[in-house]
Amino acid sequence: MAMDRPVAVVAVAQTPSYRRYDDGEPVLIMTCVNDLLARTGLARDEIGFTVAGSCDYLSGMPFAFVQNLDGMGAWPPIYESHVEMDAAWALAEAYLRLQLGDVDVALVVGSGKSSPGRPREVFSLQTDPYLMAPLGIDPPSLAGLQARTLVDAGTATERDFAEVVARSRRAALDNPNAQVKQEVSVDDLLAAPYFAAPLRAHDLPPISDGAAALIVAAGDRAAELAQRPAWVHGLDHRIESHHPGLRDLTASPSTALAAEHAGVHDGPIDVAEVMACFSPEELVLRAALGLDDGATEVNPSGGPLAGNPMMATGLVRVIEVAQRIFDGEAGRGVAHASSGPCLQQNLVCVLTGERTMSAERA
């Protein structure tokens, strides 16, 4: 079903990805929110709806998201919601909320500090709903299995993985927010020892602290707030089975389905920012999104391999695409976010510099 109201990203903000940020998460958020208010000239009371994404378990504290309200400046009281997901899903909620017609401007915030804990142990709590204990398989091990599946299927080689890493780190040299950036040769990368074979440590994302936020607005309000808004052409998300053994790990059918419903194939894609936290995932996502390697620049920011502020990482993908549309560098782009091991759940958002009616097909 087509959406009634055109909606656009009109301003974006992000902190650098820090290996360890010693101040609180609300400070990271406040930095982004104040930046957005300054850029748009919006007063706090002009924001009709706020929605945030964060994760209690990363902070190691139940109800950790409550203090994040401080960073958003929730006084006087605000109309607000929170998803315990990557903030790309907060954007999905804001996008639908703006369709109702009574709210024109929404703030979307994502934040996470992975540094206080050990993400490998924390995220193993996703994979054992049976004993409800940190006994599940951890994400790097599952990513290793996925990488092995790709190699065994003849779909990719370890050199392909290293090429993703080398390109990401090189691209990140131009990104002031990136955490891991260097000029490095594929051969040097391949000389490193295995971490979870066939993955090496550089095939994994860094541990990062950070936040990101953006403003979305509907219709004419969007055109007032930005010279060249990044209009949402389509946004969709889909999930796959929890059981890796029931999935074909060499492909991402949920990404392909979301891409189809978000209208990825309705026109050329100049830029794609994909949430490939492990290097092999980029290869899977390029195929699932149907990207033309010659025409589409993938992860020009360096992607999650260069900075991974979990719970904001997906929203940062949207921000990086929107920024390139603001700047006129790209006409049309796709942002991708993911949740769960081996790309279990995927969100696809198509942004364009042209104001068009949104094009979802239900």
Binding site: F63, W89, Q99, F123, I239, H242
Partner: protein, 384 residues
């Protein structure tokens, strides 16, 4: 451009101290299956799913939507996860309603649960620190402050505790069923957080609740009567700052005003037939009556004292037994919203309010700083 959503199916589990007969997956399936059956559809007909629950640490499963997607039949579909503290159940219902109202989806399953027996709720409610004060410890000083401010006599809290437990005896899903509940029994129960006695506090429950929301077409074609979502509102404010009114938070006032304005309600006490308010501790009944301007300031406890909030009274509150009788935290707000829907659909069984046409579902959370509410009606656009 805004479509209207309606509750077209309701499913609840039996609430208990420990549902050790079921896994997490089994628990949510029990509620989900009952909801889709009531809606006359199957899980395969659902376009999108929304899950709400309180902190993942209550069970120790991180981002449980990932593992519950299989149990709910959500593979290949969108699944969304909301967490707004104690208000989450009502917030999740509202997120689901927005998904319908946006026009994007036709049928949405909203599911909330908590399996508190898997963990230690008071530990989690204390921010994961040992030696924490828990929810009762947070609210007791504010309740004391309300009593001082309003001059309410101390038996008001006991009265609410008895009333909601008597209501619960009519609800087959209720966790607490105290046949011989009485004022004496409440006031003689141990003092937990002065002025709150043990029997003035909510239990810790396992359970799941689900609703199917549909658009106009789905609502008018279903086998059972719909409960139209007439209005919804949410407001949040900071947990603490000098001068914050913790007894009557501004976010609660703003939220109710926005809700009533959208619904066209000007005299809530007369125009709303019954309410399911989030009352985890007895005194919050009069506190929210005043905090949401349903009664004038200082009059909330008088309404409670008059018996008007009992089943059969002029403004029944929590005919299902409320949070004081069943409290799987993450689901408690959705249970308020769906029990309001039960009333206007005429499907509330032994706790039905005669002729209920307009009902309020409500939840709050955090340090009484998150509010989420909706108005449902048997009529698509009720006039007052």
């Amino acid at each position: 451009m805004r479509r209207q959503s309606a509750v077209v199916g309701i499913g609840q589990t039996k609430y208990k101290r420990a549902r050790d007969d079921l896994s997490l997956e089994g628990l949510v399936r029990e509620a989900a299956h009952r909801a889709v059956e009531d809606a006359g559809i199957t899980l395969a007909d659902v376009d999108a799913f929304v899950i709400g629950k309180a902190p993942d640490a209550l069970e120790g499963v991180m981002m449980p939507e990932l593992s519950l997607a299989d149990a709910l039949g959500a593979i290949g579909k969108p699944i969304h996860r909301v967490h707004t503290a104690g208000s989450v159940g009502a917030a999740t219902a509202i997120s689901g309603s927005i998904m319908i109202e946006s026009g994007r989806y036709d049928r949405v399953l909203v599911l909330c649960y908590e399996k508190q027996s898997e963990g230690n709720a008071t530990w989690a409610l204390s921010g994961g620190r040992s030696g924490g004060q828990g929810a009762g410890g947070t609210f007791a000083p504010w309740i004391r402050s309300y009593i001082q401010r309003s001059g309410a006599p101390e038996h008001i809290g006991w009265k609410v505790a008895v009333k909601d437990r008597r209501h619960a005896l009519r609800n087959p899903n209720a966790h607490l069923r105290i046949d011989d509940i009485s004022i004496e029994k409440v006031k003689e129960s141990p003092m937990l957080w002065d002025p709150l006695h043990f029997l003035e506090s909510c239990p810790s429950s396992d359970g799941a609740a689900a609703i199917v929301l549909g658009n106009e077409e789905v609502a008018t074609k279903g086998p059972n009567p719909p409960a139209w979502v007439v209005a919804h509102a949410k407001r949040s404010e900071l947990s603490s700052f000098p001068g914050r009114d913790t007894v009557k938070p501004q976010a609660g006032i703003d939220c109710a005003r926005a809700l009533f304005e959208e619904a066209g309600i000007t005299r809530p006490l007369e125009q709303i037939d019954c309410a399911e308010l989030y009352v985890p501790f007895s005194w919050y009944e009069p506190m929210w009556l005043e905090g949401h301007e349903i009664t004038p300031g200082g009059d909330g406890w008088k309404l409670t004292d008059s018996g008007a909030t009992e089943l059969g009274g002029s403004f029944p509150i929590n005919p299902s037994g409320g949070v004081l009788s069943s409290n799987p935290i993450g689901a408690s707000g959705l249970i308020r919203c769906l029990e309001a829907a039960n009333q206007v659909r005429g499907t509330a069984g032994d706790y039905q309010v005669d002729g209920a046409r307009v009902a309020l579902g409500h939840a709050y959370g955090g340090a009484a700083q998150y509010f989420a509410m909706w108005i449902v009606s048997s009529e698509r656009q009720p006039t007052f």
